[in-house]
Symmetry: D2
Subunit: 329 residues, 4 copies
Amino acid sequence: MKAILFTSDATPLQIAAVRRELMHDGAAGISTLNGARVVLLISDPADEIRLDEYSSLPGVTGVMEQEEKNLRVAHDRPPIDIQSGIEGLTMIAGPCGIESEEQVATIYEFLAGEGLRFVRGGAYKPRTSPHDFQGSGKSGLVMSSEIARDYGLQLVSEIVDPRDVEFAASYISMIQIGTRSMQNFPLLKEAGMSGLPILLKRGMSATVEEWIGAAEHALVAGAATVVFCERGIRTFESITRNTLDVLGAAALKEKTELPVIIDPSHAAGRRSLVVQGALAGIAAGLDGAIVEVHHDPASAKSDAAQALPLADFSKLMRLSRNIRAALTM
Amino acid sequence: MKAILFTSDATPLQIAAVRRELMHDGAAGISTLNGARVVLLISDPADEIRLDEYSSLPGVTGVMEQEEKNLRVAHDRPPIDIQSGIEGLTMIAGPCGIESEEQVATIYEFLAGEGLRFVRGGAYKPRTSPHDFQGSGKSGLVMSSEIARDYGLQLVSEIVDPRDVEFAASYISMIQIGTRSMQNFPLLKEAGMSGLPILLKRGMSATVEEWIGAAEHALVAGAATVVFCERGIRTFESITRNTLDVLGAAALKEKTELPVIIDPSHAAGRRSLVVQGALAGIAAGLDGAIVEVHHDPASAKSDAAQALPLADFSKLMRLSRNIRAALTM
Amino acid sequence: MKAILFTSDATPLQIAAVRRELMHDGAAGISTLNGARVVLLISDPADEIRLDEYSSLPGVTGVMEQEEKNLRVAHDRPPIDIQSGIEGLTMIAGPCGIESEEQVATIYEFLAGEGLRFVRGGAYKPRTSPHDFQGSGKSGLVMSSEIARDYGLQLVSEIVDPRDVEFAASYISMIQIGTRSMQNFPLLKEAGMSGLPILLKRGMSATVEEWIGAAEHALVAGAATVVFCERGIRTFESITRNTLDVLGAAALKEKTELPVIIDPSHAAGRRSLVVQGALAGIAAGLDGAIVEVHHDPASAKSDAAQALPLADFSKLMRLSRNIRAALTM
Amino acid sequence: MKAILFTSDATPLQIAAVRRELMHDGAAGISTLNGARVVLLISDPADEIRLDEYSSLPGVTGVMEQEEKNLRVAHDRPPIDIQSGIEGLTMIAGPCGIESEEQVATIYEFLAGEGLRFVRGGAYKPRTSPHDFQGSGKSGLVMSSEIARDYGLQLVSEIVDPRDVEFAASYISMIQIGTRSMQNFPLLKEAGMSGLPILLKRGMSATVEEWIGAAEHALVAGAATVVFCERGIRTFESITRNTLDVLGAAALKEKTELPVIIDPSHAAGRRSLVVQGALAGIAAGLDGAIVEVHHDPASAKSDAAQALPLADFSKLMRLSRNIRAALTM
C-alpha cells in the first residue's frame, strides 16, 4: 500500500494540493489516517502513481510503499473519546435481550449511576435455529435508545443485516458487529459507511490477523473508529463455553493503538466466572470490558446463566478501578 | 415443534382442509416437508394448537410434538435431481476466480465433456483484507452464466450480500453460501426465499449441529433443497490449510437424507492432496465433491496452489467412479 | 467410590478400629483425605463392603458412595504450606535451562532476595527432536540443588523418566510433571510414591477433567499434594505460542481446594507478554505463578525469547502484590 | 545434520574404512539409514568433522549437511516386510481389552482366517482415572502372545512404562506407543532399543512435525522401523470423539517412505463410522488400518461402542481390497 506522510505543521491547503495531484494521477481512492500527523493512504490498483514525485511537495515529509496491508489498524488512533465509567477504560454493560421498558429503564438507571457512558441493548439477535426467539427488532431498538437518552447514555447495539444499518444509525451511537458477522464484509462496509464507531467482536475461530483485516474493512469504509472486543475462541475445552484469549488480546495491543476490550460473559457461560474474566483482561492491560447485567437474572429470557446481578456489577467496577490503579503503583 | 403426518394416499383436498383448520386455530406458519409422504410443520409460538384434535381428521395418520428443532434437515429429501457427472454422485468443478471469457469457456467446455451438469464460477469473493482483489462481481456472474448455458451447464456461485440474491437468481441455478457466511442468517433467509437449491459450506469452526441449524434456516425460508459441503475445519494442525473432517461429514449423513459432498481444495491447500481428499470422502459414503480446476494453474489469479489441472480432474472422475463401484461390489 | 466420614473429634483409636473392620471385610485399599476432618476412601472393586453397617460405629458421622471418581482432588487440602514470595500466593521462578554454576547462583541469590521459597531448575528436558540439546541431567540437578540449599531455597525440577524419581527425590522438594507427561501414568505413580508435592502442568490439549484425573493418580499414589499449573493449551491461534486458559484455570478452582497457579512463559512465547499473563491469572483469583527468568536473557541457551530479565521479575512481584491487595480492597 | 552417501556398489570394506575415519575425527555417533543405498548419519555436536575431506574417498558419492533434522524419517524405508492381510497394505485387528482366553482365541482364529499377520492385544491400558480398570498386565500379554503363536500370528501390544519393554519384547512382535505416550521420550528410547518395529500412534494434539520427531527418537534408538498410525486429533467438534485427520496423514506420506496407517475406531467412537473411516484412509492412499473387533461387542468390557463385529470386519477387508484395486484401475 502507498502512503504519503505530512509534517506536523502541514496546512490544509498543502494537503488538498497533494490530494488533487493524486486524483489527477489516477488514484482510485484516498483516505486519511487518524493520528497526530496527517497521512494519506492511496488505493492504486493500476499501479500508476510514482511516489517519488511526491516526496518533495510542500508539507510532505515522506512517502512509503509497504507490504503491511492493514495500515489503518496499525496506525489509527481513536479520534473520539470512548471512555466509559472508569478513567482510561471503556466499561459497557446492559441486558442481553430487551424484555420490557421497565427492565431496560431499571438497568440503565443503575448503569448511569455507576458512571457509564455507553450501554448495550440487543435488538437483533442471530440465533442458531430459525425456530428460536429472534430478538425484538426495530421496536426494541427505538425503545432502548429513547430510555438511554433519558439517562444521558449512548446505545451500543448489534446489527446483523446491512439493510438495517441506515435505520439503526439514527438511534445508536456505536454499532456492534457480532462474532458470527466478523467476516460479513457487506455488513462491515455498510456499518463503516455510517461513520459511527464499531464494536468489533472477534470471530469465534478468527485469528488476530483476520480480526485486524475485518477492522480494516470497517475503517476503510468510513467507521469513526473500531473497538476490538475479545469474547472467547472455540477450542476443545468445554469447562467454559469458549476459551477467553486474554493473552491474544494483549498481543493485538502490540499491533494497534485502537482500544481492545474484553467480553467475559459468553466465554464464562456462567455468572461465577464473569467478574474473574473481566479482571483478568484489565490486569493484562486491556482497555475495558463489556458484560451482560440483569436486575433479576433468574427471570432473564436469554443467556440468564451468565448475566451479572447489579450488585456484582458494582463490585466489578470497584475491583476494576482498584486493579487499574494497582498497575500504576 | 408440532407436526401432522398424512397417509401416503391423502388427497390434496384433505391436506388443504387441515391447513385451513390450522390457520383458523392460529398457526403462525405452516410448511411442508419434502419426502414420500406429506408432513405439515406448524409454527405455533403462542402454543394455542391442540394436536390431538387433529389426529382423527381424514388423511391424517399421526401428530407429533418433539424437542428436535431441525425437522426439515432431519426428514427432507431433495425434491429435484442434483446428480452431476457420475451416477448417484454430485460432482461439481470450476475455476476459483473468473479471469476471462476464454478461461471460463475453456474450462466449462472441458467439464461438459466430463459429463458434469453443475459448474462453479466465483464472482463475489469474500476477502480477508479490503485491499485484496474482491472478485469480478455482477459482470463476471452474467458472463459465466451465459457461457455455462452455451454448454448446457448450470452455474453454482457464491453470494455474500443478501441484496445481490435477487439479481443473481436470474443467472445461477444453485446459490453457494461460503464458510464465512454459514451463520449469516439474513443471507440464508434471502437465499432460501429465492427457491433455488443452496450449496451450504460448513463454517470453518462450525459444529455439525450448527451446520444443521443453518440449513434449517434456508429450508424454512423456502430453499428447494440444501447440499451440505464439508470444506475443512480450523484446528491446531497446519500441515494442511484446514483439517478435512471426512468422518464428521459421514456422521451428518446419519442425521439427514439431504446430500453431503466434500470440497477438498481449500483444506488441502495444495494440488497434490486434492484428489486424495475427494476420494476419501467418496469412500466414506459421501455424495460427491466440488473442486477447483484450472486449464493453466500456474497463471491462476487466486488460490493457484490448489487448483487441479484438467488431466488430474479426469483422473479424479475415473477414480471416483471406480470407488463408487468398489463400495457396492 | 465409597467413603467414611468421621466427626471432628474422632480419636485415632476409633479410626484405627474402623480401618481394621474394613480390611476384615475385604477392602482392597484404604486412603485418607487431607482436610479438616478425617475421611477414609475405600477401594472395593468386588463391591463387598456394606457401608450402612459402618454408619453407627464410634467416631463415624456419615458414609457415602458416589459417582464422583476423583474424591481426593475434590476434597483434599494441601497439608503443607507452599506459599512462596507473596503472602497467600505461590510464586516460583528460575532459569529455563541450567547453564553454569555462576548462572544458577546469580539467579537464585536474586530470587532469595525477592523472598521466594521455591525456585525452579530444569535438568531433564523433553525435546521434540532427538538431535536437540537434552538437558544437563543428574549433574545439573545436584548442582542446582546445592546452590538452592546455600540460599535456603527449595528446588522444583521436572522429571520425565520414572526411573529418575528415586535419585531426584533426594535433591528436590517438589517434582514438576511437564505438559507432555501429564498422562504418563507410570511416572505419576512413581512421583506420587516419593511423597513429595507435585507441580502438575496441564497437558497441552488436556481438558480440565483429564487434568483432575492425572492429579488423582498422583495423590492416590501418595503425593503430599498437587499444585495445578496452567501453561496454555493448543488452539488454532498462533499469535501466542499457546492459548493461556486463564478462565479454565479459574473454573478448576471451583472443583478443588488445591492450589492452581499459572505459567505464562511458554504460552506467551515472548518476554513482552509474560508479566501480563501472570497478572491476568492473579487477577482471576489463581494462587500464584511460575516464570522463567534469566540474568542475561540474550545469552540463554534455550527459550531465551520468553525469559524475564531480573528487573522485570521484580516488577512482576510488585504488581502481583498490588493486584492481590486490590482484590480485597 | 551431516551425512555421507555411498554409491550403490560401495563395498562393506569401503564403508568400514569411512566409519573408522569418522570415529578418528571425533564423531559422537554414526548410524546407517535403511534404503537402497548406504547413507551414514553423523552426530557431530562439536562440529569437528570437515565433510569435504570425505567426498573423494572410495565408494563415497556425495556428502551433505542440512537443516532437516529428522533424516531417518525422511529417508528410511522399512527393512522388513510388514504387510498384513491385503497385498500392499497392513491390516491389523484385535480386541480392545483382553477378557478371557476364549475371547482372544475366538477372535484370533477368525483374524487368521482373514489372512492377517499382525493382531493387536491390549494388556497395559493407560486410564484417565486411577479408579478405572487398568488392564490385565503381564499375564494378559503372555496369554495373548501364546494364542497368537498358535495361529501363526504376531502380536502388537501397547507398552506404557519403559520398565516393561524388556519383558514384553520376548512376547510381542511390534510395540505400540499410544497417543498419550507419543512424546514420552524415555519410553520411545527404550522401545527403540528393543530393535522391534514400533507402531506409533499420533498424539491427540500432536502436529505432523512433532509426530515425525517422535519417530526419529525411536529410529535413532534402534527401532527396526516405525509404522505411523493416525487415530484422530482433538478439535472443537464432538459429533465424533476425535477428528480423523485423513488428509494430514496423507500429507505425512509426502515426507516419508515409512508406512502410515489409520485407526478409525477411537475417532469414530461408534461402530457405524469405523468402516467408513478406514475406507477413507485407504482411498486417500494410506498403507492400511488397525481396528478393534469383538466377537460379541455387546459384552465387551471397554470401548464396546466402537468394536466391530466380525462380520463387519470381513466386509471391511473386502471393501478395502476393492478400493485398493480401484485406485490402480
